[in-house]
Symmetry: C2
Subunit: 394 residues, 2 copies
């Protein structure tokens, strides 16, 4: 698999994790315009605060991404900050670019200072091994407890030319102890300003990464970065984004596909529930209701068992804080009505069990209170989730 024009990547082992690749690099050979979205957690890891400030200083330009797995370098104070800065400084030196164009990302145990010596010793190797086909190595080097790598791509047509978007991700809340981080790097060869990239990314995230939940926990390190090399050779898309509709469609698709992979790969997950709340009084109400259902342990364990236990869904909606009249609420699984106007529908248990036994379980909750809607994807909770998360950090 090749990266979009203008990008190279590599993934190697530097020794933070045992016998697993744990250091990745993405290089925009002639630089890229960039936009990023970071975790809203008040505890922000050193790489998050540094990358945020760097992006500002560089005016949204990025030359390279240095990413490691095995250590989040979060809640590590000054020491963690200094360790991350040493990595950044060395990377800038090797690639001959300003430090502000080096973007850092980390995932792994919280409270452990980045073992920067291991990274510094391997950084030139990571630089030398980079190639236009390095995406596969990179996609492995950023994983923690993910079952497998996550890569999605799509093409688009802009000014008559076919451009590409390729994204790579690691799981959110895949949750090896302390490793509840979601990282995603999306690259394109479109020429676009970082202001445009920012608005396109925000929109794409709303319907993808922000619409999934594994366990409701937001990490100290969550980061999504969008890079545009401009190598497609079309004119620059500016803030308005007019004429770039095919690009935004493709970007949404890539982000949605990555989000699906992340939630489907929830620890021990067998099923994904697609929760659509419609006819809510406001978008906030719709999101409250969808989120309550998506994070309810009762709903998630029933989902694991393939149990069409709609009472749990209704109870979660009822406590969500969303405003509605219970007598107007309808619930259906796929096209099968389970609740009509607040009362149980007549349906065959077998038909409901069949839908809840699927890999993808579509649920529609009609609040009958307005016109707003929201969709969230949620995975189930099973024994593997407990096993992976109760064992001592390893």
């Amino acid at each position: 698999m090749k990266l979009p024009r203008g990008f190279t990547a590599s993934g190697i082992r530097c020794g933070i994790r045992k016998k697993r690749p744990d250091l990745g690099m993405i290089v925009a050979e002639d630089g890229a315009n960039a936009a990023a979205v970071f975790t809203t957690n008040r505890f922000q890891a050193a790489p998050v605060t540094l990358s945020k400030a760097a992006l500002k200083r560089s005016g949204g330009r990025v030359k390279a991404v240095v990413v490691n797995a095995g250590c989040a370098n979060a809640v590590t104070g000054k020491e963690g900050d200094l360790a991350a800065k040493r990595v950044r400084s060395r990377a800038a030196e090797l690639l001959r670019c300003p430090e502000s164009e080096i973007f850092l990302a980390s995932t792994g145990v919280i409270g452990m200072v980045l073992p920067d010596k291991k990274i510094l010793d391997s950084l030139s190797d990571a630089v030398n091994r980079r190639s236009a086909t390095g995406i596969e190595a990179l996609s492995h080097a950023i994983l923690t407890t993910d079952v497998g790598p996550k890569v999605a791509q799509a093409s688009f047509v802009h000014e008559g030319k076919r451009g590409r978007i390729l994204g790579v991700a690691k799981g959110a809340g895949m949750i090896h102890p302390n490793m509840a981080t979601m990282l995603s790097f999306v690259m394109t060869d479109l020429d676009a300003s970082s202001a445009f990239l920012k608005s396109a990314l925000r929109e794409a995230i709303d319907e993808s990464f922000n619409a999934i939940t594994v366990d409701g926990d937001t990490s100290t390190n969550d980061t999504v970065l969008l890079l545009a090399s401009g190598k497609l050779g079309t004119s620059k898309v500016d803030r308005t984004g007019i004429g770039a509709e095919d690009f935004t469609r493709a970007l949404n698709l890539v982000c949605r596909n990555l989000a699906w992979m992340i939630v489907r790969d929830g620890e021990g997950a067998m099923r994904v529930m697609e929760i659509e709340v419609k006819n809510a009084r406001s978008e906030r109400d719709a999101k409250l209701a969808a989120h309550a259902v998506a994070t309810s342990p009762l709903v998630k364990t029933a989902l694991h068992g393939g149990d069409p236990n709609w009472g749990r869904i209704i109870a979660a909606v009822g406590r969500s804080g969303a405003r509605f009249s219970p007598r107007k609420v309808c619930l259906q699984a796929g096209k099968l009505p389970l609740v009509i106007n607040g009362e149980p529908a007549k349906y065959l248990e077998k038909a409901a069990a069949k839908i809840f036994g699927q890999e993808r379980v579509p649920i529609t909750i009609d609040l009958g209170a307005g016109k707003a809607s929201a969709v969230i994807l949620a995975c189930d909770f099973g024994h593997d989730y407990i096993s992976l998360n109760t064992d001592y950090r390893s």
Copy 2:
């Protein structure tokens, strides 16, 4: 065990549950003043809406409580409403009191109409078997998946006389499929107005039933009822409650003990984390932070494993929405500092593991942002929780 003066109770089998007692009655022989707190879930079961309205109509007087397990009679529309009314009407007839003095409560499967015929056939039996020692039978008849019955009592001195408080409860979110209901009935022989009982109950609940979480789900049926028979023979405590401090202390104790039993009896629970958030900017901030930690599946699975995994606690506090500066946050387990001013403390892993291996794990989170505080008790998530909740409703 005897009930406080003025009360009798019974618990029998009426056939809703298989081979288990499932029908209970509490009778205030000469009536009682009452106050109740109900679920805030927007979907309220028929017994909840009926009891709420009845209490209003009777001016806070209750003659008897009829409670069943096995069926919540929630989201059951008109049919469920009529079934509950038939039970109430029969109970009023048998006890020769107005219908408005019959208090109904149900726990069990959502979406199933109350099998009122079974209850009607057994109601006179429940009335006849009532006795001053019937609390044990009652305490069993209200259980669903609780491991055991939950009864707590305390005495108090009022105007030189020794009065009693006795409370009985069934678990919140003990969560056999659809059975996430918390019911509690607290009886006292104090003579008090329902206005006073209301304020005393609200205060007691805030630090007990409202400060526990098994899985964050609030049911359609949650109810706490406080009954005062007035048989102690002291003068009536009115709205101000002045002079009843010893009673309120005892009431708080009974409610806190019941709450502890409920959370300790969470399905498969091995440990309870006592989460204290202090020095928050406001009570709301303190509660947000404590609640985020208490409901985090990552924290709860680590707790199950006895893993001193403080990164998960910090990450949950960070995403809680509480306002604070990360650099001022301190975290300790028991008296062992784990995080000081946002940086990891130096401590022995063994010492931390010892605390997290206890039955009760005390955690203090100091936000360094103000003077408000909150305490929440949370149980762990283990394999039994998954097993009990993924199996098909039975």
